[in-house]
Subunit: 350 residues, 2 copies
């Protein structure tokens, strides 16, 4: 579906005319575009910021995930805004981070730093096992994770289960460099609830499962709970691997401890926490949960499948912007405070 700049996709996929303020926004400047969305004020988007009704007055509110701080990005243009059955979707053209995808007021990705999250979430698990063949993605509607999996020539089948079709449609329109992942013929798209998909999945099927979800408020709430991890463990083959977005070590120690603790009970192989730098995420850092099931041991700390040395992999998805074997190993080194807080819950970092 093509969406021109004077139209927007409605919930059911039909195209509606934009309100006059948005048209004005596009033809003039961000200052006007800004007026079209509550999180954009005076030409700046701000996570955790909401405008009140009175003109020229607004208030900040505490996002429940990150009380007391907010990252603001200067907006050149609001490219899209809409509401699906599950969430509010906003796409902005920022002046410093390229296009930015925002779901329910929270930044999901920005063109200029998405490489860090997508490449690490995918290659940390897939470079830790030899020749992965079948992969399942839960979430990942922007397609960036698929783009990265596609680099692995050993992969034969990529299932993806995304709950929100509108996210996919919007990303195909505004983030073609990510949504290109959907064009790989190995990809099979399932629109639906990831937790339910996993409950119905055949046992011992996948070499790797990658959970690319939003934060555990709203539609992704179930994806940090024990039954979800149990179905993942069952859907993986012996010695299969899980990679899962796992928040910031600076902000969410308790949530990370809870997730690691559940995984420690569920996965009988190794359980690790890794992290990397993503400027547009809160605290500028994001973590990854890496687990393996009982079976051939997986040493996540030492990549056995160095994707950056495979010419075919680079021809496929362009050059790797972030991942390499050095940054893979480094991702498992934790600051002392995090090492102390997490050591009871996962395998020792280097």
């Amino acid at each position: 579906m093509e969406v021109t700049k004077s139209e927007k996709i409605s919930n059911n996929g039909s195209v509606k005319a934009l309100p006059p303020c948005c048209l004005k926004a596009r033809s003039s400047a961000a200052e006007f575009g800004a007026k079209c969305h509550a999180t954009v004020v005076s030409g700046w988007f701000s996570e955790s910021q909401s405008r009140s009704d009175k003109a020229n007055k607004f208030r900040y509110y505490n996002n429940p995930m990150w009380p007391g701080e907010a990252h603001s990005i200067k907006v050149e243009k609001i490219l899209y805004q809409g509401k699906s059955e599950y969430q509010e979707i906003l796409v902005i053209e920022s002046s410093s981070y390229g296009k930015v995808l925002v779901l329910d007021g929270i930044v999901q990705l920005a063109e200029n730093d998405e490489c860090a999250y997508q490449e690490m979430l995918v290659h940390l698990p897939l470079c830790s096992i030899p020749s992965p063949r079948t992969v399942l993605v839960v979430g990942g509607g922007d397609g960036g994770v698929l783009r990265e999996i596609s680099r692995h020539t050993s992969v034969e089948k990529i299932d993806i289960c995304e709950i929100d079709k509108l996210v996919i449609d919007v990303c195909k329109e505004y983030f073609p460099d990510l949504a290109i992942g959907f064009e790989d013929p190995r990809v099979r798209l399932h629109i639906g609830d990831g937790a339910e998909f996993l409950r119905n999945a055949s046992k011992g099927t996948y070499d790797a499962i990658i959970v690319d979800s939003s934060d555990p408020i709203g539609p992704a709430k179930e994806l940090v709970e024990k039954p979800f991890f149990e179905t993942i463990s069952e859907a993986l083959r012996a010695g299969g691997v899980l990679s899962c977005m796992a928040e910031s070590m600076w902000l969410h120690t308790h949530l990370i401890q809870d997730m690691l603790s559940i995984c420690r009970e569920t996965f009988k192989g190794s359980v690790h926490y890794a992290w990397t730098s993503v400027p547009t995420y809160p605290s500028g850092a994001i973590g990854f949960l890496l687990c393996s099931t009982k079976g051939p041991p997986v040493n996540f700390l030492s990549p056995t499948n160095p994707i950056e040395k495979q010419k075919e992999a680079l021809r496929h998805g362009g050059e790797l912007r972030f991942y390499n074997s050095g940054i893979h190993r480094a991702a498992f080194a934790l600051p002392s405070f995090a090492k102390k807080e997490l050591k009871a819950y996962c395998d020792s970092p280097p």
Copy 2:
């Protein structure tokens, strides 16, 4: 000098009564305190944000170092504001990062994450050489770098040259956990210009020089130029080491390339770039320049002096919150984009 909550230190060190709005702020809520400083609006401090004169209206402006983005921190209380000969000084009590020191509108440190910057800036160089004895600090008026150097029992003399005495006085009052560094009897404080201090320093004197400056706008401008690095190289002994704050790999590639390029010409030993995560700095990441002079080779990538294993070091400054040998080695692993952009200017990362 003790400053009570209803007083503030003026430029010349005398104590002045605070204006009524600030008194009101303290007795009620951040909403009122906020009105006392142009960077604090509706109870939030925002880097790159300035309020215009009209009530209920304000504008963001682009900070020259970080156009197009701003990090905002919820303010519980404005603890101090003043203006020295060199810069505006602001201390806020934030709701999520503890007390925060702001110079000329830019966050210098926050209690909750200062450990990352201070510990890495100091221990990356001092743990890379055996038994450092004499150390010079340029800048570092908050005392955090001194606190970390103090852990090294081999050190006999610590010179520090800070240009702004008011920063030291304010930090002694509001950041005692950092300013404690000044209490070490090995410390000799020099108030003055770091570049000039180095021009007059004896040749071949120091085992290590640590540059803890603010960004290269305002008083620290000279500290990224070639003559400055030449005097550092001359003041170091053969095989001596430099550690210098070197901006974010995400935002300031050209500035980092310039600094590395100057150091490559100036230092005849090794030249490296390392980085770590600091949530309250722009992009959530900060870099370090690590160089050594001609002489006994220094392998920065492999710490020879593991401070975290020395009981005496931990008794001295309390537990290390961030640094350990694993995170030391990891700091030199660069993402592919940074590796590519910096490889012509420094030694290869792992």
